[in-house]
Symmetry: C2
Subunit: 128 residues, 2 copies
DNA sequence: CATAGGGCTTCCAGTCACTGGAAGGTCAAG
DNA sequence: CTTGACCTTCCAGTGACTGGAAGCCCTATG
């Protein structure tokens, strides 16, 4: 398979896949013409990566998950620990964003949004 | 005021303030010894910036907000538009993160997390 | 007067995960 | 034979800092 084929199958840009090779997440061989040759297994790996990335796992977490995936003697506890940590970070982020959203929507609601200069948004940023 | 003083007042690292000077958000003068000399106005600007950044506004949005803040002839509509756009992006992010959280917490819940290799998290990443 | 420490300066490099673009090789169709 | 889609490498840029090295400045103490 050429890079374009796996790219389509994984739903990832070819550039991203080249990058994944650079950092050692996939190791395709090469055809005589220098083109990357992806196996079916490589394609599965990339699909796995695309899904893990879509769930917000960092590249290093993906690397760890891939290693566990390929390790038949893994303990599911190790996988679960990674996912749990990640879940906790996501929940933190959501809480942070919700706090921003609440403040911002209050401010947006309180601002007339007309031609006049008076603006509670600016006042709040200036005065706390 | 030296950089350390404004840093403490604004709650920003000195490094960040130097960076803000680099990109033209503040323009302190210099003392004879080369130290940055911040005025009371600079301090207020930095406090404004710190608050806007804490609400998640990008640097370019902060630049625009700062310009509006300093423009007595501004229309509050312009400020409100920036805030509303930002609010919409935050709401998108929250929705994305909530989708991740929901999927992840299902997966974490379904995984035994013991010594055995069977892991629904990996299965789901591999098979969709 | 020397020195020790803290704060200040600049500049360079690294972060994360790509992304864009230039310059050029390869391949299949018409 | 040419066109156009694909592939290659390499370099640089993104956003918003952050870390670190090398060195100057200021104050306080011995």
């Amino acid at each position: 398979m050429n890079i374009g084929d796996v790219a389509e199958r994984a739903g990832l840009p070819a550039k991203t896949i080249r990058y994944y090779e650079d950092i050692g997440l996939v190791r395709p061989t090469r055809d005589a013409n220098g083109y990357r040759a992806f196996t079916e297994q490589d394609a599965h790996k990339l699909i796995f990566l695309a899904r893990a990335r879509a769930l917000g796992f960092s590249i290093e977490e993906c690397r760890a998950l891939l290693a566990l995936w390929e390790d038949r003697a893994r303990a599911s506890a190790d996988v679960r620990a990674i996912a749990k940590d990640h879940l906790a970070r996501i929940e933190e982020k959501i809480a942070d964003l919700e706090a921003m959203r609440d403040t911002l929507s209050d401010l947006v609601r309180s601002c007339a949004g007309d031609n006049r200069p008076d603006c509670p948004i600016l006042t709040s940023l200036a005065e706390g």
